[in-house]
Symmetry: C2
Subunit: 343 residues, 2 copies
């Protein structure tokens, strides 16, 4: 069923997953296209962004954001086209970045909507390298990681939109950069296209040894995207005063509860203590001053134009394909920034 002007397809949270989401977690529903009222505009979704944080919104846990309600439309940022508008500053034909969620149509009064103009060059980039993932990489690495020239920076999920950007910025800043990714194809891309100094396949049996060999001077900054065994292999390599921006833990998002032991709590705390490590979590839209976004947009636009930062997208066709694409993403079966072409 394609996008039409009569029907709004929406994907709702049908039940909260315990562990990995499955067929019962999300459900496609349809309804009439909503009508915008006075002071509102109607948006047609073009690109839907899929991101690991969405797994967290399926839970009912205390967190930085309100969970999606059962029966509610799944949260997402999209790039949409303005179809009709009674909102100042938005005209028919403009492209916008909007919190529409997983659906074809969205009525907005302009809250949290960013106008990209009528003919943006790469509209989908607002969901990736020039949007939340790119800004997350930039702010987390530079403001919490504080990398210095010559230091060693390690980042997992290195072919994903955040990890790839972290590593490329760290190279620009003069660091020795080691990525971690799943499989030979991704690792080759990370070294040959993105220019990391090395990339280790976390599926290798001797992964921890390979990581240690790639970091002969230890690790000064570990940008944490994944948790799990990668974290436990990194801890013994951290240098005194190492910094660890904590951005995600995708290896653990699908845990139904605490996993079996041993308990690595003492290892984590002991490393923080002995090595004087700083671990700091952050959420991109409330951990940094608003001015930083302007710096990011200026720097990143420049780096892209100069070819110093490269960016890879993986496009999934059709809204119906979105649930499986998210589940694949949570298992590391994506390659680059995942976007759904909705209409």
């Amino acid at each position: 069923m394609p996008q039409t002007t009569e029907t709004n397809r929406k994907i709702i949270l049908a039940s909260r997953p315990k562990g990995a989401p499955d067929d019962t977690t999300l459900r496609l529903e349809t309804e009439a296209v909503p009508l915008p009222g006075k002071g509102e505009m109607l948006l047609r979704t073009v690109w839907l962004s899929l991101d690991p944080y969405m797994r967290g919104r399926m839970n009912d846990a205390k967190s930085y954001a309100t969970p999606v309600e059962i029966g509610g439309v799944m949260t997402a940022q999209v790039v949409a086209e303005v179809i009709e508008s009674d909102v100042a500053g938005f005209s028919k034909g403009d492209y916008v970045l909007a919190p529409s969620g997983w659906q074809d149509w969205f009525v907005s009064d302009g809250t949290q909507v960013l106008n990209l103009g009528p003919e943006p060059q790469n509209p989908s980039w607002a969901l990736g390298i020039l949007g939340m993932p790119g800004y997350t990489a930039y702010a987390g690495l530079l403001k919490i990681g504080e990398p210095k020239p010559g230091e060693t920076v390690v980042v997992a999920a290195a072919s994903g939109p955040v990890g790839a950007t972290v590593g490329q910025i760290a190279k620009i800043k003069g660091c020795h950069v080691v990525g971690i990714a799943g499989g030979a194809e991704k690792c080759t891309h990370v070294v040959e296209t993105l220019g990391f100094d090395a990339c280790i396949d976390h599926r290798a049996e001797d992964f921890a040894d390979q990581l240690a060999a790639a970091c002969p001077d230890g690790i000064d900054v570990y940008f944490e995207n994944v948790g799990g065994k990668v974290l436990y292999a990194v801890l013994p390599l951290l240098n005194p005063f190492a910094r660890m921006p904590v951005c995600g833990m995708v290896a653990w998002y699908n845990l139904p509860g605490l996993p079996d032991g041993p308990d690595h709590g003492p290892q984590i705390l002991s490393t923080i203590l002995r090595m004087k490590v700083k671990m700091q979590g952050f959420i991109i839209f409330d951990s940094f001053p608003a001015e930083l976004y302007q710096e990011f947009a200026r720097d990143m636009t420049g780096w892209l134009a100069e070819g110093k930062v490269r960016y890879k997208e993986q496009v999934v066709e059709g809204l119906e394909a979105a649930p499986q694409a998210l589940y694949d993403l949570l298992e590391g079966r994506n390659f680059g920034k995942v976007l759904v072409r909705v209409g």
Copy 2:
């Protein structure tokens, strides 16, 4: 055997403990009193400080300080009397703070020795409230914890020299302060003498519930001294942007290896991520600028004079009693700052 002018008693590391130290860990040996040469001075130990960090020096692990060698004298700061001196700035009869270790006599060229003068008012305080433990509390709380008026600060080992000082400084800064200690006597002291708002006995069966009840607005700063079940009870109470100076983990120092599960690693990382928590380890003598020590000495001297900070010592008699006193300290069987009266 008391202190004499003929014999140097010294306590050496006989073997590295696997788990809790025991009778085979430390050994008393004797030798002739060493003779100072040109440019050296002879120091007689008066007060020996016992501190939890000493357990770490018994291990052969990569850490911030070199381990004690097998057969080497156990590390310690002491307050000593200068018996004879060929070092400029030190005269016979001066009291000094010195890294003599667990022994009666020490020859020094003045390196890392601080002169306290001929008649210091409370010489032992240089090992406690006006020394390393006091400065640790001050710098860790104010520079990493950054408490703001009205915030909730939690500290464990609250009747110990670091915890007691952290809580009293937090009260001075206008915070709601909750201590954690072992047993009713310590808890009463923490509230009635030290002025904390509450103190929870970690031996209580409903400890986690009591802690939650004492922190109705959550926890903004958790000063980490202990690890273990106290840490795991604190994590669910941390507020967004909470800060956690990591100063020690005495509940875990005697672990022979990683304990049985479940693995709390995901709980720790998930809390850091969702709540944007900062956890930061520090070592007092290399994590802060030297000027901070002057600020500390000025503030703390003032607070002591005004009665805003109170300080409790527990004196153990005789060098031979030091090993058991350290083992008791590691099990929380001390009450206040532990000092050994050596001579």
